[in-house]
C-alpha cells in the first residue's frame, strides 16, 4: 500500500515535471489554463499598415506569398497578395528573413527572426524557426542568441543543406555572428565563415545554377544609444565555389578604404551577372556596382541618392528573374533600372522607405514592395502601386484613452504619424474611423482630460501639437530654446521619443521632458522648467551629429541624455517622478523645487540603464513601479521594480517566468496585486503583485508591447504593440476576483455589473472585402464564470430565467478550464411562426427582455449553480419609461398574435390534411368535404403566402407576413410605436379577428360533414387529431 502510494506520488511528480519544467513555457501553459475566454481583440488600424522587412514568393504557385514584418511576425497570402493572414503569432514577431525550401515549397519554410534594418527602435530576434506544414506549426531550430538573421538559403538540389547568415546583435559584441551551414537539415550547424565579434553576415545568396557557389557580405556595424557606426576595415564581400568550404574576398574594382553595408544579388537568368551596392568612405565611390564575370571584377554604375541613401536601412537588390538588365534597389522610394543599373528612376508613389521588392514568378509587371507602411502591389512594373489593406502591423510607441462613450484610442506610430480612433464603431472599426493628428514619426498622444483637445508630437519634439478636432486647428506648443540655450552645449535635448505627460490632478497641466522637466499650467501656452538637468549630461553620449559611420546619419534618433518618462502621482500633485535614458531615476516631493536621484537604490541594475517607464501608484503616493531596459547595451534582462517608500528601497518583481526585457507596466486601479507587464515578447499578468506571472496568449500575439493603458470606466486593457497595432482585452475585472479561494471552487461566478441594453441599431459597414475591420467589443450581457476543470463528460447546460423561474432562453455554456465568458444579447425566443411556402423574415427577430433581474442557471451533472444578472435600460437614452412599456406591450401583442396565427394555420392544415385523407375514399366523401377544403384553402391563402420564393419571386404578402413585418419593426425599435404603427397594428388585429370568425363559421358549418368520415380514436368521438395550443407552441 505504502509502495503504491509512493509510486503514485512519484508518478504525479514526474508528470508535473514533464508538463512544466521550463518557467517561460510554464507561464504560457498556466496562462492558457487560467484566462480561458478572456480574449484580446485587434482594432488595428491597417490603413497605414507597418514596416515589412522581407518578402518571399513560392517558386511555382503564384498565389502564395510570405511576408516578414518588423514587429508583426510572418504573414501569408494564399490569394496572390489580395489579403494576408498572420501565421507566426506565438513566436518572436521581429523578422529578418523568410525562405521557402525550393524542394518542398508547399510545406517547408524557414524563418530567421530579428529585423536587420537596424534603426534605433528595431526589435530583437530569438532564433531560427522552421515549419514543415506551410506555417501551421513551427519549431525553433536554434540560434537563440543570434538576435538578427539576415538571410537563409536552401540548396535547391538538397534540402538538407541550408545556409544561415547571422548578422547578430546590434548593440554589443557577439561571437554568434557569421555564416552557418547545416548538411543534416538543421540538426547540427557549422560556422563556415566568421570575421569577428563586431562584423556580421548581412547578405547571402546562392548561384541559382550552381548551389556550390555561395556569395555573402559581412558588415562591421554597431549601435549605441547615442550613436550609430556603419563600416570598417572588416566589411567585405565573399565568394565560395565549394559549398562554403573556402571563401575568398571578391573586391576587384571596389573602392579603397573602409567599407560599410554591402548587398549582393545574382541575376537569376544569367548567373555571371552580379550586382552589389557599396557603402564606402568617399561619396563618389559609393553606389551600385556590377560584375559580368561572376565577381572576378566590378564596375561602379550609379551613385544616385536613391541608391546610396541610408545603407543600414536600405540595402536589398532584386533582379528581374527573366531580365538581368532590370534591377531594383530598396531605398527611400525604391529605384528601378531597366538598363542594367546605369540609370534609375523611382518606383511609383507608395509609402516611403522601401526595404524589399520582389517580381512575380511568371509576370514581371506584377511586383510587390515591402515598405514602412505595408506591402504594395504593382501590376505595371512598379509605376502604379496599391497597398494591401488587411495587415494591421503598425508599430505604436504609446497609447492613451479618453472618457468618451465609446472611448477613443490615441497613439503615435513608427513613420506613420499620430492617430486616434474609436474603440467601437457601427459595423466594426474601419479604416475611415481613424483620424490623423500628427506627421512624421508619431510618438505620444494624449487627449486633454476634460476638453476636446489632443496633444501629439513628432520625433524629437520637433513639433508638439495641441489640436482641436472640432475646429480642425492645430497649434504647436513645444518648449523652445530660450536665452542661453542656443548653443550645442546648452540646447534643449529631447529624446526622439520625447517625454510627454498630463497631470492626473490638474486638467490643464501638461509636461514635456528635455533634459529638464517642463511644466505648463495652461495647455502648453507658457512653460516653466521645474527641474535642473536631470540626466548625466555626459558629453561623450552627445555626439549624434557625427553618428552614422561611413554614411552620416544625424536624424536626431540618437539624441541622448534626455528625460524619457514623467509621472505625476495621482494622489499628490507635488510628487513627480522622472526617468532618463541614461539611467537616472529622479523624484521630487515638492513640485519640482528639489529633486533626488534614486537610481543607486535600485538593486541589480547596471549603471546607465535606461529608465523606460515609471508608474505612480494609485494606492499610495509613496508607491511606484519602475521599468528599466538595458537592451541598447546588449543587456536583455527584465528589470521591473516596486517601491513603497518614495524610492528609498526597490524590490524586483521579476520572476524567471517572464520572457523578454520589459518596457511598460500598468497597475490595476482596484486590486493592488494585479499588474500587467509588457515585454519584447508579449503581455504578462500577475495576480499576486509579481510573485508569479502568466503569459496572456488569447488572441494576443507575442508582440513587442510598448505601452499599456487601463481604461478606468470600462476596465478595458488597451495595449500598444509595436507591430500588431492596438490590442484590447475588454473588461479585465474578473481577474480581480481570481483568489485562491475562488479558484478552488468547481464553478465560480464573477461579480457582474448591471448589463445595459445598448440602444443602438445603426448601420456602418463602409469597408471593402479586402480591408481589415477591427473587432467591436461585445454589447451583450456577459455571463462570466471560472471552471476549475474542463467539462468533458456528462451534461452541462445553461439557461436564463426570469424572477419567477420561467425559462427565457437556453444557451451553450462555456466548458473551458479557467474563465468562461458567455454573451447573452438580452433576447428571448422568437415567436413560433405559421408554416408557409416561404419565410416571414420578421419572425426571426427575438424580442428583448425588459429591464429587471434575471437568473443564470448552470446545471453541471448533479450540481446547479445560479447567479442573478441585472439588466438595465440604456441610461444615455432619452426614451421615457412609459414609452418603453408601450413598445414592450405592442411587441408582446404582435408576438402572441403571430403565435396564435401559427396555431390557426396549423388547425387549418390539420383539418385540410384530414379532409384530403378521406376525400379519395369515395365520391360521396369527396362531395361532402369539397366545400370545407375549398373554403379553408381560400381562407389560408389570405393568412400566409402559399407560393413564391424568398427573393424577387416573393408572393404578395398575406396576414402572417404583414404581422411579422410590423412585429420586427416594433420589436427592434427603442421607441414607442408611432401612429402609423399603431394604426397598422389595429388593421392587422381586425383582419385577424375577422379571419378567426371566418374559420369558426367554416368549422361550424362544414366540420360536422368531415368528422363522421374519420376513424374515431378509441373511446372518443371522431374528430380531427389536434394538439392543444400549449402543446403546439412547446414543440420544437
Amino acid at each position: 500500500m505504502m509502495m503504491k502510494r509512493m509510486f503514485l506520488i512519484l508518478l504525479s511528480l514526474f508528470s508535473l515535471q514533464t508538463w512544466a519544467q521550463d518557467p517561460i513555457k510554464d507561464a504560457v501553459t498556466k496562462g492558457k489554463e487560467l484566462f480561458g475566454d478572456l480574449k484580446a481583440r485587434h482594432i488595428g488600424p491597417a490603413l497605414m499598415s507597418g514596416r515589412i522587412t522581407d518578402l518571399e514568393l513560392h517558386p511555382s504557385n503564384d498565389r502564395i506569398i510570405y511576408a516578414g514584418t518588423a514587429g508583426g511576425g510572418v504573414w501569408k497570402s494564399v490569394n496572390g497578395g489580395a489579403t494576408f493572414n498572420p501565421i507566426f503569432d506565438e513566436y518572436c514577431q521581429s523578422i529578418g528573413a523568410v525562405e521557402i525550401d525550393p524542394s518542398d515549397p508547399d510545406n517547408t519554410v524557414w524563418v530567421g527572426t530579428g529585423e536587420t534594418w537596424t534603426r534605433n527602435s528595431v526589435s530583437v530576434g530569438d532564433g531560427l524557426y522552421k515549419t514543415v506544414d506551410g506555417g501551421t506549426n513551427w519549431i525553433k531550430v536554434g540560434f537563440e542568441k543570434s538576435e538578427r538573421i539576415a538571410g537563409i538559403q536552401v540548396n535547391p538540389k538538397n534540402p538538407k543543406e541550408v545556409y544561415v547568415a547571422v548578422l547578430g546583435p546590434l548593440w554589443n559584441d557577439s561571437e554568434e555572428r557569421g555564416l552557418y551551414k547545416t548538411i543534416d537539415g538543421g540538426k547540427s550547424w557549422n560556422k563556415i565563415l566568421y570575421v569577428d565579434k563586431t562584423t556580421g553576415c548581412s547578405d547571402l545568396t546562392l548561384d541559382p545554377k550552381d548551389p556550390n557557389i555561395v556569395y555573402c557580405s559581412f558588415w562591421e556595424f554597431r549601435r549605441q544609444p547615442w550613436s550609430f557606426s556603419s563600416g570598417g576595415t572588416k566589411s567585405a564581400l565573399y565568394k565560395s565555389t565549394d559549398g562554403g568550404k573556402t571563401f575568398a574576398k571578391i573586391h576587384n574594382g571596389f573602392p579603397k578604404g573602409k567599407l560599410g553595408r554591402l548587398a549582393i544579388a545574382v541575376a537569376p537568368s544569367n548567373s555571371k551577372i552580379l550586382y552589389t551596392v557599396i557603402e564606402s568612405e568617399q561619396d563618389q565611390d559609393k553606389g551600385l556596382y556590377r560584375s559580368d564575370d561572376a565577381g572576378v571584377s566590378w564596375k561602379q554604375l550609379n551613385n544616385d541618392f536613391g541608391i546610396v541613401v541610408r545603407p543600414f536601412y536600405f540595402s536589398r537588390i532584386e533582379v528581374d528573374p527573366r531580365n538581368p538588365e532590370v534591377v531594383v534597389k530598396a531605398g527611400l522610394m525604391g529605384s528601378i533600372s531597366r538598363d542594367g543599373g546605369k540609370t534609375f528612376k523611382n518606383l511609383g508613389p507608395n509609402h516611403s522607405d522601401v526595404h524589399d521588392v520582389v517580381f512575380d514568378i511568371n509576370n514581371s509587371d506584377r511586383m510587390y514592395a515591402a515598405t514602412d507602411g505595408g506591402i504594395y502591389r504593382s501590376w505595371d512594373g512598379g509605376t502604379t502601386l496599391e497597398i494591401v489593406e488587411n495587415m494591421p502591423v503598425c508599430q505604436f510607441y504609446h497609447v492613451s484613452v479618453d472618457n468618451e462613450e465609446p472611448y477613443h484610442v490615441y497613439g503615435g506610430l513608427q513613420d506613420n504619424g499620430c492617430w486616434y480612433g474609436p474603440s467601437k464603431s457601427p459595423g466594426g472599426i474601419e479604416a475611415s474611423d481613424w483620424h490623423r493628428v500628427g506627421y512624421g514619426d508619431g510618438y505620444r498622444v494624449y487627449p486633454h482630460p476634460t476638453k476636446k483637445l489632443i496633444y501629439s508630437e513628432m520625433q524629437g519634439a520637433e513639433n508638439v501639437w495641441r489640436f482641436d478636432p472640432a475646429k480642425d486647428q492645430a497649434k504647436t506648443i513645444q518648449p523652445l530654446a530660450e536665452k542661453g540655450e542656443m548653443d550645442a552645449k546648452h540646447k534643449l535635448r529631447f529624446n526622439w521619443n520625447a517625454a510627454m505627460a498630463i497631470s492626473p490632478n490638474k486638467p490643464d497641466r501638461f509636461y514635456m521632458g528635455s533634459q529638464y522637466v517642463h511644466r505648463s499650467e495652461d495647455m502648453g501656452e507658457n512653460w516653466t522648467k521645474i527641474s535642473p538637468d536631470l540626466t548625466t549630461n555626459d558629453p561623450a553620449k552627445q555626439n549624434q551629429e557625427t553618428s552614422g559611420g561611413l554614411s552620416r546619419d544625424n536624424s536626431g534618433a540618437e539624441n541622448h541624455c534626455t528625460i524619457f518618462t514623467i509621472a505625476e502621482s495621482p494622489l499628490d500633485e507635488n510628487v513627480i517622478w522622472a526617468g532618463t535614458d541614461d539611467g537616472n531615476l529622479q523624484l521630487t516631493k515638492d513640485g519640482g523645487k528639489t529633486w533626488t536621484n534614486l537610481i543607486a537604490n535600485v538593486p541589480g541594475v547596471p549603471k546607465g540603464t535606461m529608465v523606460y517607464h515609471i508608474e505612480a501608484s494609485v494606492f499610495n503616493k509613496a508607491y511606484a513601479y519602475a521599468v528599466l531596459t538595458g537592451y541598447q547595451t546588449g543587456d536583455m534582462n527584465t528589470y521591473v521594480y516596486k517601491t513603497t517608500d518614495f524610492g528609498q528601497t526597490w524590490k524586483s518583481i521579476v520572476t524567471p517566468e517572464i520572457y523578454g526585457f520589459a518596457r511598460n507596466i500598468q497597475e490595476d486601479y482596484v486590486n493592488e496585486n494585479l499588474l500587467f507587464l509588457g515585454t519584447e515578447f508579449g503581455l504578462y499578468i500577475t495576480l499576486n503583485g509579481g510573485k508569479n506571472w502568466y503569459k496572456f496568449t488569447n488572441n494576443m500575439p507575442s508582440a513587442n508591447v510598448h505601452y499599456i493603458e487601463l481604461h478606468k470606466k470600462t476596465n478595458d486593457l488597451v495595449i500598444a504593440t509595436h507591430g500588431r497595432g492596438i490590442v484590447i482585452i475588454d473588461n479585465i475585472s474578473p481577474l480581480r476576483e481570481l483568489t485562491e479561494e475562488n479558484m478552488n471552487k468547481d464553478l465560480y461566478f464573477f461579480t457582474s455589473k448591471p448589463a445595459i441594453i445598448p440602444e443602438e441599431n445603426g448601420f456602418g459597414g463602409n469597408s471593402t472585402e479586402t480591408q481589415f475591420v477591427g473587432e467591436n467589443p461585445s454589447t451583450a450581457a456577459r455571463i462570466i464564470y471560472y471552471l476549475k476543470k474542463r467539462h468533458t463528460l456528462g451534461k452541462m447546460t445553461m439557461e436564463i430565467q426570469d424572477v419567477n423561474g420561467n425559462k427565457i432562453t437556453e444557451m451553450g455554456p462555456g466548458k473551458s478550464k479557467g474563465i468562461n465568458v458567455i454573451d447573452w444579447n438580452f433576447s428571448t425566443k422568437p415567436p413560433k411562426m405559421a408554416t408557409a411556402k416561404t419565410f416571414a423574415l420578421g419572425g426571426f427577430i427575438t424580442p428583448r427582455v425588459p429591464a429587471g433581474t434575471y437568473k443564470v442557471v448552470i446545471r453541471k451533472g448533479k450540481d446547479t449553480y445560479t447567479q442573478d444578472i441585472v439588466v438595465q435600460y440604456d441610461p444615455k437614452s432619452d426614451v421615457p419609461l412609459a414609452d418603453r412599456k408601450l413598445q414592450e406591450e405592442a411587441t408582446r401583442k404582435l408576438y402572441n398574435m403571430s403565435q396564435e396565427l401559427a396555431y390557426t394555420v396549423y388547425e387549418i392544415d390539420e383539418t385540410l390534411k384530414a379532409a384530403e385523407g378521406v376525400k379519395g375514399k369515395s365520391a360521396a366523401n369527396a362531395k361532402a368535404v369539397a366545400p370545407l377544403i375549398a373554403q379553408l384553402t381560400a381562407l389560408k391563402e389570405t393568412l400566409v403566402v402559399t407560393k413564391g420564393d424568398n427573393y424577387v419571386g416573393t408572393a404578395e404578402p398575406q396576414l402572417r407576413e404583414k404581422m411579422a413585418e410590423l412585429y420586427a419593426k416594433v420589436a427592434q425599435s427603442f421607441y414607442k410605436p408611432n401612429n402609423a404603427e399603431v394604426n397598422n397594428l389595429e388593421a392587422i388585429e381586425t383582419r385577424y379577428t375577422n379571419a378567426k370568425a371566418d374559420l369558426k363559421k367554416i368549422k361550424d358549418k362544414e366540420l360536422k360533414k368531415l368528422t363522421p368520415l374519420l376513424s374515431p380514436e378509441k373511446g372518443k368521438f371522431a374528430q380531427v387529431p389536434m394538439k392543444t395550443y400549449d402543446e403546439f407552441i412547446k414543440e420544437p
Binding site: 487560467l34 480561458g36 506551410g134 501551421t136 468533458t792 451553450g812 433576447s827 408554416t835 419571386g953
Partner: protein
C-alpha cells in the same frame, strides 16, 4: 539502496508516460474509452437530433449519416425543412435558402467530399487502411486542458483548381482520451486562411458508445455557435428518399 529504488520507479514512470504518448496508444485508448473498436466498427448509421442556438433563435436540426457515405442535414425554419449537405451516393446537394430549391454543390466540393467517404463513424477508426497519416505533434494546453495534439493528414483536396493538403488537428484530452477540439484551416471563400475550430464536450453514453452531446463550432479566437444534441439513435431506420435530390416542380 533507497535511491536506486526511486530511480527504478522513475524509470517505470517515464516509460509509462512515454508509452502513453504514441499516437496509436492514444487512438486505441480513445476507442477503448468510448465503447470499443469492434462496437464502433459495427455501427451502420446514426441519426442525431439537435438544436443550434443563434442569437437566441433555436434551430432544430436532424443529422443523418450512414456508413456508405450517404448523409443529410435537415434544418427547420418556421416549420419548413431545409436540407443542407445531402449526399445520395452520387450527388452532393443543398436547398437554396432564397428560392428553397435543391441545388448541386460545385464539382470540386463534391469531389472533395467523396474523398472522406469511409470515415464514418470516426476518421481514426480505419485511418491506416485508408492510407491516412496520424502523427502526435506533442502536448498542448487548449480550453485550459492538457491535450495531445494529433495531426491527421487526409487525402489531398482540390482548392479553386489547385491541389492542396488536407490536414485536420485533433486535441485529445490527456485525462479521458477523447477529442476536445478539432481544428482545420479554411481553404476557400471569404474566411480562407482562418482556422475553423470545433469544441466537443458533454460526452455521454448511447447504447454503449460515447458521443459528445455538445459541439461549439466557430472560428478560432472569434465567436462560436453551440450545437446541443438532444438525442442520438444508432443504426436508425432511414427512409432512403431523404437523400434524394428533389426534381424541380
Amino acid at each position: 539502496m533507497k535511491y536506486k529504488f526511486v530511480l527504478a520507479l522513475l524509470t517505470i514512470a517515464s516509460f509509462t508516460v512515454a508509452k502513453a504518448q504514441t499516437v496509436d496508444e492514444i487512438i486505441a485508448k480513445y476507442f477503448e474509452n468510448t465503447g470499443g473498436m469492434e462496437k464502433w466498427k459495427a455501427l451502420q448509421g446514426i441519426k442525431m437530433s439537435a438544436k443550434a442556438n443563434q442569437g437566441g433563435i433555436e434551430i432544430p436540426i436532424v443529422i443523418t449519416q450512414l456508413k456508405d457515405g450517404r448523409q443529410a442535414t435537415s434544418i427547420n425554419f418556421q416549420g419548413k425543412d431545409i436540407k443542407q449537405g445531402v449526399y445520395d451516393g452520387t450527388t452532393l446537394w443543398s436547398t437554396n435558402f432564397v428560392n428553397m430549391k435543391a441545388e448541386k454543390s460545385d464539382a470540386e466540393t463534391t469531389e472533395n467530399f467523396k474523398k472522406d467517404i469511409g470515415e464514418f463513424p470516426d476518421p481514426f477508426l480505419t485511418y491506416k487502411e485508408r492510407g491516412l497519416k496520424a502523427e502526435l505533434l506533442g502536448k498542448e494546453t487548449i480550453d485550459g486542458a492538457q491535450t495531445f495534439k494529433i495531426k491527421l493528414t487526409k487525402k489531398p483536396i482540390m482548392v479553386d483548381g489547385k491541389e492542396a493538403e488536407n490536414i485536420v488537428y485533433y486535441y485529445f484530452d490527456s485525462e479521458n482520451f477523447v477529442p476536445l477540439v478539432i481544428e482545420q484551416e479554411i481553404k476557400t471563400g471569404q474566411m480562407k486562411g482562418a482556422i475553423q475550430q470545433n469544441k466537443m464536450s458533454d460526452y455521454q453514453d448511447v447504447d454503449g458508445l460515447m458521443f459528445p452531446f455538445s459541439l461549439a463550432q466557430g472560428i478560432k479566437d472569434k465567436g462560436s455557435q453551440t450545437l446541443t444534441i438532444s438525442k442520438i439513435e444508432l443504426n436508425p431506420k432511414v427512409d432512403p428518399s431523404i437523400f434524394v435530390m428533389p426534381k424541380e416542380n
